[in-house]
């Protein structure tokens, strides 16, 4: 009954995105899409499984660095590069996830943060990341050897295709039986255990999936910007993705996309006007969200919609 309406919404958004690069600066649009994907991947964990990972940027960074490295130094084709970056993030996700799910709640958040910081330090020191200088001048290459991705317009549609595909995957996951169990874990972990499910395994799979998609976001971001820097893996970025999800509405399908759009455009608008006060504003949004706005933009909007329609 509600499905057609939602599908209509998806369709409108998709059409809007198709024409967006003619109106909005395409690089900015691509940045928003990469972060939207990143936030959706994160939301899979926080919104649907109830696990707050405070170190998700490390998967974004890993995806970016590995893709950048294989494209630049080893001259791999673009598609393989993306795959390599994404898979490395999954492997790292498997390791960090397996450790982190040994603790619950707040401890889980602290463990992920600490492990991510450890990997961050390794990135700072490792020669292949270029340290503070970052990996620079990464070629975009071509798509299947046919489409030249150096052109912003054609890259835009490639990025759009990746994001739509990933979004569809997340959508399917959430609505699968697997997704139902994840939601059950979020609501009442003990009950799921008593029903005979191996909760640890479900959590780990969710974690790895989320890390993989975050890695894909990082790998895609490298194609857009042609470089990977430490910023991608820094805990500030981990905080940003939490904020995007929280602001947009955690546990909603569209929330992270909206959150990413708002935060990224806010940052790019404010960067030269207020300088470092951007951090203060981000922190302020955090505080306001937690105190008064916990359902986020999409959550509040749909609650409002339901109230108006009298449901």
């Amino acid at each position: 009954m509600k499905m057609p309406k939602i599908h209509f919404g998806y369709l409108t958004l998709f059409v809007a995105l198709l024409f967006a690069p003619f109106i909005v600066y395409p690089v900015l649009m691509m940045k928003v899409m990469c972060f939207a994907l990143f936030a959706c991947a994160f939301n899979l964990l926080l919104g649907y499984t109830g696990l707050l990972s405070f170190g998700h940027a490390v998967f974004l960074g890993t995806g970016a660095y590995v893709t950048g490295h294989v494209l630049k130094e080893w001259g791999w084709p673009t598609e393989l590069g993306l795959l390599a970056g994404t898979l490395s993030a999954s492997v790292l996700g498997l390791v960090i996830g397996a450790l982190a799910i040994r603790r619950q709640g707040i401890y889980f958040a602290m463990v992920t943060l600490a492990l991510a910081q450890m990997v961050y330090f390794l990135f700072v020191q490792a020669p292949f990341t270029g340290g503070e200088d970052g990996l620079q001048g990464i070629p975009r290459g071509t798509l299947l050897g046919v489409v030249d991705l150096a052109d912003d317009q054609s890259l835009y549609y490639f990025v759009l295709a990746i994001c739509v595909g990933a979004f569809w995957l997340i959508h399917r996951t959430i609505h699968s039986p697997f997704g139902q169990i994840l939601k059950a874990v979020r609501e009442n972990e003990a009950r799921v255990v008593s029903l005979g499910f191996d909760v640890a395994k479900y959590k780990l799979v969710a974690f790895v999936l989320s890390a993989t998609l975050a890695g894909l976001a990082g790998a895609t971001k490298v194609l857009v910007f042609k470089f990977a820097t430490l910023t991608d893996a820094h805990w500030h970025t981990s905080g940003e993705v939490v904020l995007m999800t929280l602001l947009g509405g955690m546990g909603t399908a569209f929330g992270p996309v909206v959150g990413a759009g708002v935060i990224i455009s806010l940052q790019s608008e404010l960067a030269d006007k207020v300088g470092s006060l951007v951090t203060v504003i981000m922190g302020g949004i955090f505080v306001v969200c937690v105190l008064a706005f916990r359902r986020g933009i999409v959550g509040e909007a749909s609650a409002l919609y339901q109230r108006i329609t009298g449901r």
């Binding site: 602290m110 492990l115 020191q125 951090t279 981000m282 922190g283 505080v287 937690v290 916990r294």
Partner: protein, 295 residues
């Protein structure tokens, strides 16, 4: 010269002592986190920011009003504590009924704000704060010159940590606190003002961080980033120790400082990751932490 694993024993002892200095900061901060967590069930991400604010308040006191180090040692923790109480009254208390994660998120936002404000007004390059005259110079320990100020840091933080432990574990006030942690509703029914205790606990916890900041100011540069760099390590310390016991967090803090110091002797490159490696090992062997109780 005697050697262990090819390292002169002098150098080894020197690094041990320095590790103890760092360990005192870890101990003080993780103690504050543990006290707050015990009472409020909140992980205070703003702890690092409060530590940084403590250092800045000391610097501002000296620069703008001529308040010296010794007065700062008393006044700054009070000021930071008041800031903490205001935060608790106006924001944190709305979250006690919710998932603990919200407390973490709120304090994370606060940390960003506090850090950003100081960054905006004072830049990121760090401000100098000189060592008080009484504590300049060094003591010759035979194997190294230990600057008096570093020794002072270790002594003060040990005294403060042990005093805190004594108050919580051995006094009547501490008994109320522990009771309120265990069962706030029942304690309230016995006529103890639990909300007041919660408020004061948070104030005290962040005041400890503020005191840490004052102690750190002369040793390191006063910079807006000093807190966030430290807090993540302290989180790892807390995960290693578990937050079940006061003494546990003090001991874990100190010993990890020493472990870090030793790493600097043998393999300096790993000195900033060693705490995390220890955390990984502890998680594999004893997930609840060294002093934590499996729930």
């Amino acid at each position: 010269m005697t050697e262990i694993f090819g390292i002169p024993i002098q150098a080894l002892m020197g690094q041990l002592v320095l590790g103890l200095v760092n360990g005192s900061f870890y101990a003080m901060l993780s103690l504050g986190l543990a006290v707050i967590f015990g009472m409020l069930n909140i992980i205070n991400f703003a702890h690092g920011a409060m530590y940084m604010a403590g250092a800045f308040f000391a610097w501002m006191g000296l620069t703008y009003w001529g308040i010296g180090y010794w007065w700062a040692l008393i006044l700054v923790p009070l000021a930071v504590g008041v800031v903490g109480i205001v935060i608790e009254r106006t924001m944190l208390r709305w979250l006690y009924q919710l998932d603990h994660l919200y407390g973490l998120l709120l304090t994370f936002g606060l940390a960003l704000m506090i850090e950003g404000v100081f960054r905006y007004y004072y830049g990121a390059s760090g401000l100098p704060y000189s060592i008080p005259e009484e504590l300049t110079g060094a003591i010759n320990l035979g194997f190294m010159f230990l600057p008096k100020y570093r020794a002072w840091v270790v002594v003060v933080s040990l005294v403060v940590c042990l005093a805190t432990w004594f108050v919580i574990e051995k006094t009547k006030l501490g008994a109320y606190l522990r009771a309120a942690t265990e069962n706030p509703r029942l304690t309230q029914a016995f006529g103890v003002n639990v909300p007041l205790m919660v408020m004061l606990t948070y104030g005290f916890g962040v005041a400890l961080a503020g005191l840490g900041g004052v102690l750190a100011a002369p040793a390191y540069a006063v910079s807006p980033l000093m807190g966030s760099n430290l807090i993540i390590v302290v989180f790892a310390v807390v995960v290693i120790g578990g937050m079940g016991s006061i003494m546990g967090s003090i001991l874990t803090g100190l010993s990890l400082g020493v472990v870090e110091g030793l790493t600097k002797v043998f393999y300096a490159e790993a000195s900033n990751t060693v705490v995390f490696v220890v955390m990984v090992i502890v998680l594999m062997i004893r997930p609840a932490g060294l002093f934590g109780k499996e729930k």
